[in-house]
């Protein structure tokens, strides 16, 4: 079954990248331009007509958001994951809300969590999980949640914490050796 899907991709998108393949599971990566075509093809001709999930991975080191659409074929019970990279700056991803009504909610969440816009989604911008969020979209890698939490919410008592490794080193004089002082400064 999954071979048929794979064949479909080989014919239509010869440049696709195979990420993972199992007897009922296929993960392919296509470029951002052909992502929509691939999804439409999967829905119309490959039988994967159920949208399970739209997910995003922030690959900040490559400067891209990887969007993954997870499509299922209920009849054959196979899963198809289609990934594509979109540039991180002013990220615009085509919306699927016209094709699947369920996509709208996923896209609203991604807009809120990553700041990725889905032109064509009529309900984009409606509060979903957060309420009047003003900071960086929280799921982005450059958002530091602990720092934010400590700044905004604080904690009951400051942490009184001793690292055993440092503590032991200090009391036995690990750093008092001729070369050790320099090493400690490096640390």
């Amino acid at each position: 079954m999954i071979d048929k899907v794979k064949n479909g991709f080989e014919i239509r998108f010869p440049l696709y990248k195979l990420v993972r393949e199992q007897h009922n599971y296929l993960h392919v990566k296509v470029d951002m331009v052909s992502a929509m075509d691939a999804i439409v093809m999967a829905k119309t001709s490959l039988g994967h007509n159920v949208l399970q999930l739209i997910s995003t991975v922030d690959r900040i080191e490559d400067g891209v958001f990887q969007i993954t659409w997870i499509l299922e074929n209920y009849g054959a019970c196979t899963v198809l994951l289609i990934s594509a990279d979109f540039p991180r700056e002013n990220c615009l991803v085509p919306s699927l809300s016209q094709i699947w009504p369920a996509a709208s909610a996923f896209e609203r969440e991604i807009f809120e969590m990553y700041g990725i816009s889905f032109p064509g989604n009529p309900r984009e911008g409606e509060d979903f999980l957060l309420e009047s969020w003003k900071d960086t979209p929280p799921m982005r890698r450059d958002f530091e949640t602990e720092e934010y939490a400590m700044r905004v919410f604080g904690e009951r008592q400051p942490r009184e914490h001793i690292d055993p490794r440092q503590y032991v080193g200090d009391i036995v004089g690990e750093w008092n050796t001729p070369m050790g002082r320099k090493r400690k400064e490096e640390k």
């Binding site: 159920v50 922030d58 209920y74």
Partner: protein
Amino acid sequence: MGVNPATDPKKTTHLFFGPQHPGVTGNMSVEMWFDGDQITKAITHVGYLHRGFEKLMEKRLWIQNFPLVCRICVPEPDINEECYAMAIEELTGIEVPERAKWIRTLVLELARLAVNLMAFGGQGGTLGLGTAAMWGITFRDFVLDLFEELTGARIYHIYIQPGGVRRDLPQGFGGRVEKVLEKIEKRLPELDRLVLNNAIFKLRTQNVGVVKPEWIEEYGLVGPVARGSGSVRDVRKDAPYEIYSKLEFDVVTESGNDIFARVMVRRREMDLSISLIRQILSKMPQGPVATKLPNLTEWRVPAGEVYSRVESSRGEYGYYVVSDGSLKPRRVHVRGPSYVHAVPLLERMLVGANIADVSNIMVSLTTCPPEIER
């Protein structure tokens, strides 16, 4: 400027249903406009339980996420652990010992039984049949006692881990499971007589909250919601994990499309769970229950991406796990079945429904807000 007839303030009443509302399943709310008794538009509001799990998971070690994931679904935490552990096992190639697989399946089925008992009773409770809710939750408590003995906690078990389970079964556990099953089996007919053979319960649930079969693929419905509308999809059968391929069972399905059909699916799932637990107990092999893991604080999971699925009591439950080969996951995306059930489906189903049926419909979908919001 035209006024949307669904929300025209002159013709409709604007009402917030929840979050402080005894009829809502958990902490969520529905904003509704209704004309007389008929709802013309509904918007689901979630986020009251948003804890940023997915962000927190990126900040914690692979093993440290187990206490987190189980809290995503409060009534049935084990599926989260199972699903996450399966994803890690897929990425690392860790083998699960045979006995551990059986124990895991036992735990999953016990949890399914517990949550179905609560949902079954709760369906009565939401219609004012308090007795059913009292009984259902009490029966569930008997199962929780078993969990307490097995895992050390009533709610958050943190029992399943990559490569097996955390403890072996205690001495004589099988016998005590059997005892509880007998107790529940003895008392379930009482509950049946009260709920399923109840004229008014039927009146309130039959032909109410209809899920049309064509919606299943349109929305991606799963679990009892889909199976109540004639679907035969069950991950346990379609893509067997653990030892489901070695157990004998048929997928439960009903064709009523309405709330009553979904209640029936849950009721029959309980029987199925009981039968599966009996099969597991009779065939449980001996052996180790956990594979040795590397140093937990230095454990790097090989880079890769995987989507793992299990069948929860609410349907297919998926984890999309991305690893970049470091100590912490790169991304864990939880796809709970309530996501589509409570947001797009509920918004669609409520239009045209009676205000009295809102919580009825909501409970029949067993929407679980924590897994929508994470």
